[in-house]
Symmetry: C2
Subunit: 504 residues, 2 copies
């Protein structure tokens, strides 16, 4: 059986979406008529500028940063507030048009492709930071607010939002895909940091997952409100919508947990003679209870690419990028314990990045890994695997994966959030080389199944989207898929919300 992932790779061959306005509906006259029928109503809600049928706009909204081919929607709408989202959704519901939420398009599993056509809700015009409650450590943002925009806004407050997937993604999009990234080992993923969501359901109704919708809107606007830190009040809807990838509703606000900016931060780089030594160090650092903020692994292939792309000169060997947060005294203790451990595993002396500028350069190099990998083979495309395994299995799976890369004659750069057992193999491939594409597909499938055999998951943070639907079935089994499908059917009985994602 070919997985959705393979579909993505097979369709990688560039194929420009040559479409005239609404020609995407040409094979579906019923939907074409429905779209025609609602356009004027859409315009009356969002204004003429808030509705686009333009080919370029539709193409921009039909793809993310993955290899999945562009699947443009029939029309793109740009609502300005939750009331407009709700009114538009009611129209889509009445006309049975699919709804695809769109944040920044930085996803990696094809989550925004309009595989059944329909209406893309681009949420970029809803970009307000609505509520900041420093004494309660929370903030509420609209879906157009990105991670970097929020942290800019917070700069003078002594607070920050640490979840950092690399891309400057929208925070509501990060909630929708259950994003995480380099800081998750200390601060958790979106699952642990989203406290409340405002969601528009497929029928246009608006809910607040942690129950704040009882408050009249004017009061919400007038008085910054906060949210409780824990609750046992009924089913946990917040964490059902986090990671639902737009298939259950459109997230129109998210309330996030904030943290005090650490008194001190320091980063370090440490090289090892083997993958095993680097990963063993990681496990021991965590076992020692060091509250490390980031611990990122780069294999020698990846570090070589980063050196070249970012003009660095780290030794070309398995490497850990580390970051410590805390008071001056606590940092000293964290660093001493960590150095003892890395040295006992044959690690190099630490190369330090103490001031903000040097630290930012270091982490920019880490976040540019994707582009560094691509730069090694100009004209090629990249695909990132995303398995996550129990910590104890990490050395074994990375070593096996590197052997598999050699046997498969593939270029793969391994980079990972090893403190969480999650790593990516950045595959760079020539999109015109069908044989290479096929080998990448087979390799990715083997890697995912290797993770499953080691009690892991096929996706630690990128989500299922289009690409991992079959692997999800393998991972969780038919009984769990039946439960997931029943939840989808309960909340979105007409399958209007981002159809064709997560579930086959």
């Amino acid at each position: 059986m070919l997985s959705g992932c393979s579909a993505g790779l097979r369709l990688l061959v560039p194929r420009r979406c040559v479409l005239l306005s609404r020609s995407v509906t040409s094979g579906n006259p019923g939907r074409a008529a429905a779209v025609d029928g609602v356009l004027s109503a859409f315009r009356s809600i969002c204004g003429d500028d808030g509705v686009s049928l333009g080919e370029t706009v539709r193409e921009q909204h039909g793809k993310d940063e993955s290899v999945h081919r562009c699947r443009p929607p029939d029309v793109v709408v740009f609502p300005r507030c939750v009331e407009e989202v709700s009114a538009l959704a009611k129209l889509c519901h009445r006309h049975q048009l699919p709804i695809i939420p769109f944040g920044t398009g930085t996803g990696l599993e094809g989550g925004v492709g309009a595989v059944k056509g329909g209406v893309c809700f681009s949420l970029r015009n809803m970009d307000q930071i609505l509520d900041l409650h420093p004494e309660d450590f929370d903030v509420t943002v609209e879906p157009g607010v990105t991670r970097k925009a929020l942290n800019s806004y917070l700069r003078e407050t002594g607070l920050w939002f640490p979840v950092d997937p690399g891309a400057d993604a929208s925070l509501c999009g990060m909630a929708a895909t259950s994003a995480s990234g380099t800081n998750a080992v200390r601060y958790g993923t979106m699952r642990e940091n989203v406290m409340n969501l405002e969601v528009v359901l497929a029928d246009g109704s608006v809910i607040h997952t942690a129950g704040r919708n009882r408050r009249p809107r004017y009061r919400f606007k007038a008085l910054p409100v906060s949210v409780f830190r824990k609750t046992a009040a009924g089913y946990n809807l917040t964490n059902l919508f986090v990671g639902s990838e737009g298939t259950l509703g459109i997230i129109t606000k998210t309330t996030l947990r904030l943290y005090g900016v650490p008194e001190e931060m320091v980063s370090a780089v440490c090289s090892f003679s083997s993958v095993q030594a680097a990963v063993d160090s990681t496990v021991q650092i965590l076992q020692a209870g060091v509250p490390i903020a980031r611990i990122e692994f780069l294999d020698e292939v990846m570090i070589d690419a980063c050196n070249k792309f970012s003009s660095l000169s780290y030794p070309v060997s398995p490497t850990l990028f580390l970051e410590f947060h805390g008071s001056e005294r606590s940092l000293e203790e964290q660093v001493n314990t960590t150095e003892d451990i890395t040295q006992s595993n044959g690690g190099s002396d630490f190369q330090w990045a103490r001031d903000a500028e040097t630290r930012n350069r270091l982490w920019k190099a880490r976040h540019d890994a994707w582009y560094a990998a691509l730069a090694m083979r100009p004209g090629c495309k990249a695909y990132a695997t995303d398995v996550c395994v129990p910590l104890s299995r990490l050395p074994h799976i990375i070593v096996e994966t590197k052997e598999d890369l050699i046997e498969s004659r593939l270029t793969g750069h391994i980079v990972g959030h090893v403190g969480d057992g999650n790593f990516h193999c950045l595959m760079v491939m020539d999109p015109s080389d069908q044989d290479e594409l096929h080998r990448v597909h087979l390799f990715s499938q083997r890697l995912a199944r290797r993770a499953l055999a080691m009690d892991g998951t096929c996706t630690g943070e990128h989500g299922v989207g289009l690409g991992k639907r079959s692997l999800l079935c393998e991972e969780v089994g038919p009984s769990v898929i039946r439960v997931m499908q029943s939840l989808k059917d309960a909340i979105d009985p007409n399958n209007l919300m981002n159809p064709g994602k997560i579930l086959l």
Copy 2:
């Protein structure tokens, strides 16, 4: 409209469940016949000892530690393994008999009462610790394993499970009610610490919420398996079942996240001249980023009761019980920062509890608060409120609540996990005094609504059960209730799983 809570209070008047075997079904001949029809099949699954119709046994399983009156099931079964649970559930499903899971009966909201009769699944015979994976910081336990039993088992490993609701509850029961307690401010609640659940659904099918059911059972038995630390693979079923209070399925295994035992622990007690000063200190300690392990507030009424019950001599004034975990050096820093803050708020010098015995005595006194409150009025009953509000609202709501107690002429002891904004008012009342019961009911309703008006929740950790179903409706509103009901209908379409709980 009277809430379920009021129903509990109104029914507090002792009324012994005088029932002969199966007489509970006398008003429902259809169910009586169904129970009669399955008894021999039950016995063929669990053995004769595994099925009880005895009045005493049924009464023991018809109530928890709350004021809700005993609602005995028609029959109690004692399965020994998940296969037996599944087989029993299939029979109940076929005969449309309600299923009520029972752990240790230490709940506080009437969650185990068989309000529609049916079959109580007492899970105490499933008491194995199945899997311990120290290097992955996780363990899997059956539902008969309690919190204290697990920590005893872990004693030599250097690991522990910190979630501590006070009672020696079963860990699967704690997952079912989303329990938390004194350590949550640092280590989180069950929501953050349950990594996987094995659940038997109403139709007898068995799922693993984080998808481990693909593994053949013999392999699960033979080879300790661990679980990944994060995933984005489909809907988050684990956190849907955590806190579902037995209304979606029977939890038959839970995989928990473990922590390294801190190098050092130290506890301290600090008295204040006002509630405001104690709570302000709490907020400032958290704002300063002190990773405090426990920070518990006791008002002067509560501390007086604890002094008398546990032979202590703390000043009778608003008090914080604190605990710090970490290395020796980190403790020093945490304690210094905390002392600076408490002293700036007029707090007393710390009274220390450094060695394990003194610390245990201190926390036993805290955990005995319930019995201490009861001991102040022999022959009385207790009811605990459980609101949780944003930290910034905490001083205000506690002060208002104390005023309300005086105006209502009620005895209330305030004790709380103030680091989470969660506190309990332990109401002691004479069950034969109808007027007092009525005042307690009105007071509890006012307190819950005061919390809702301050963006809080009616239940931080005790759950909804029978007692807070109406308040849940007020808290989340009809749209969210509709979504919750649709999820319940999707997973348990015949309403067999613990019917009458959470949702009205």
